[in-house]
Symmetry: C2
């Protein structure tokens, strides 16, 4: 058998092109919303995969509100003993890709499974070809296994209109056991297009998703392209979430003006602190592909604002310098700003020890 | 000023969206083909950026022939003292992207410049929005500099119909000095869709391009999606190039049958050896995201074929195991096969010491 890349590199691709074969297996479909939805800050939202509740509509800018219908960071956790999992999904926008971000990242789904060693391993990506009725088929290389825990990431830059998970009629598909008590509170990440996932190759490679797998914890992605600007009263919805930690990564969407940081950082911190006296709040410096340009004026402005609050006596604040986030070789971005998978992996790794320390209660 | 990601994250993007501003600068355009074209194995081809000469048409399969019109690995080397470089380009196909590869990789252009330290640094990527008349504008963060050496990569999965480079009328744009004598012979890489560049975020992140920058040498990319299957008489055109080394990375497009490797590897090696008695030939094992699956049957088959030739007394052959090419975390691909920038960077780094040793004459 000749393996042709362009036409059918893997069985997955073959079945994606010939959905008939998948249905020939007598797949039993289940609405994904009836399994466990992770990566949401609120249990009640207008749509099952929305990232903000209706009550937040008046508290965020209108672009952020619209982008909250895109499903970045939302994922389905489930358990199955099937050797093959199918996914059928439709998206809300026919714009499946962006010029600098592949359709797999914008509108695709991404399956991970827990390995025998306990870590999450990539299984495969579902390629979107159309707005409605995309089909992905994922075969586990090790075959069937009882109680296999899976994590399916939803599209990072498109809304998920419908999502079904299918397994052979003879297999089980179930809601998983809850995560261990100590790992149940989510990390809430608020920020820009980079937080939302621009420009990962697939949703599982958004840095918030990578960090979530590394820490084995839910992460709530509140990245809003062009609109993560920390303007009040954004702290109010954030404070409603009982977070293990907050990570604020907004600089690229903000001004260079130090007064803006003084005002916005202070407002955000005080609003969260009122509701969450102990949750660590981590402010991320500006990622930039030119190491010699660090720290940027914006990073300096944000750091000064955080320092002022610490001097006021506010505990549990961290300011992360931007300089080491995406490496010093200039190869972590697609356009000088938005991260490729290289930049995404580097940013997740750079933040991992800081967030791990914060959620362990080791931050003063 | 608010920096909005989605609309205009960088000046580059602003000007790409408003070409009028670029032309307001009185840009002087020059056909890129009049500068130095690198990454070609033949000086005379039907189109200036074609990857195979007409004489090869009968020696490769028809898909490979068609794909030789796509410009992966072809790049323009030039020197300028301009602070800003503009690029205007058209592509041969209106299919600007693939579902799992962004338009920036498929149809974009990618500018690098030599840094003060001597290494190549990413400057920016030109986003394709249409088939004809795309415009990119690249501003060097350090401003104007006399004699700055630049390298502009052409689209990796599309043909380049036309390409012009523009600088302000007051600036120089020139053919560069030749590369140092010892670094002039190219590395010739022959293989599959992954060699061609699937699925880098931009042309400069194809592993052959990364390797070329690391070694600071021309690389001829003869990757043909789905069609790098080592079938005779492909060795004949390869042997026409006076290569510093040949890298053969075909396994994903080939059978698992050991006899196919025995036959094809032997034929390829003997054909090249007749014309190029000393050029090292490096056979790359199969990259695979599951470390436990290494070595694959195909890798074993290829290694046996190489060993048999070594036992015959053929010198200068290397078989690279596939296992360490793209890491062991499963995160180097978009779909289980094709490399993201993470996989591309890892494969380039894994091959770097082997190719460096080979071109230094240290391979027996």
């Amino acid at each position: 058998m000749k393996a042709s890349y362009r036409i059918a590199a893997t069985l997955l691709a073959v079945f994606a092109l010939h959905p008939g074969r998948a249905s020939a297996e007598d797949v039993r479909w289940r609405d994904a919303a009836s399994l466990e939805i992770e990566g949401r800050g609120w249990a009640k939202t207008a749509g099952p995969y929305d990232r903000l509740p209706d009550s937040a509509k008046s508290k965020v800018n209108s672009t952020a509100w619209n982008l909250s219908k895109e499903t970045s960071g939302v994922c389905i956790r489930f358990v199955t003993d099937a050797a093959v999992v199918s996914v059928r999904w439709s998206v809300t926008s026919g714009s499946l890709a962006m010029p600098h971000m592949a359709a797999t990242g914008v509108s695709g789904v991404d399956l991970y499974a827990r390995s025998a060693g306990g870590s999450w391993r990539f299984v495969g990506n579902g390629r979107p070809h159309k707005q409605d009725g995309n089909l992905g088929r994922f075969e586990f290389p090790e075959g069937a296994k009882p109680g296999r825990e899976c994590l399916l990431y939803l599209p990072a830059y498109n809304g998920t209109k419908s999502l079904e998970i299918g397994v052979p009629a003879s297999a089980h598909l179930e809601v998983p056991k809850p995560r261990p008590e100590a790992l149940r509170k989510p990390i809430v990440v608020y920020g820009t297009s980079i937080v939302q996932g621009g420009c990962a190759s697939r949703p599982g490679m958004v840095w918030t998703a990578i960090l979530g797998r590394m820490l084995d914890r839910p992460v709530v992605n509140l990245g809003f392209s062009g609109s993560g600007s920390m303007e009040p009263p954004i702290g109010e919805p954030l404070a409603e979430i009982d977070a293990a930690a907050y990570v604020i990564d907004c600089i690229w969407n903000m001004s260079e003006d130090p007064n803006v940081y003084k005002d916005h950082v202070s407002n955000l911190v005080h609003t969260i602190r009122k509701a969450r006296p102990d949750a660590p709040i981590i402010f991320v410096g500006q990622s930039l592909m030119r190491p010699e340009a660090h720290p940027t004026k914006s990073t300096i402005g944000q750091e000064a604002a955080v320092r002022a609050l610490q001097e006021e006596g506010v505990k549990g604040l961290v300011a992360v310098p931007g300089g080491n986030l995406i490496g010093d070789d200039g190869e972590g971005t697609v356009d000088g700003v938005h991260l490729t998978d290289v930049g995404m992996l580097r940013q997740a790794r750079a933040l991992l020890p800081i967030v791990r320390e914060a959620v362990s209660g080791l931050i003063e």
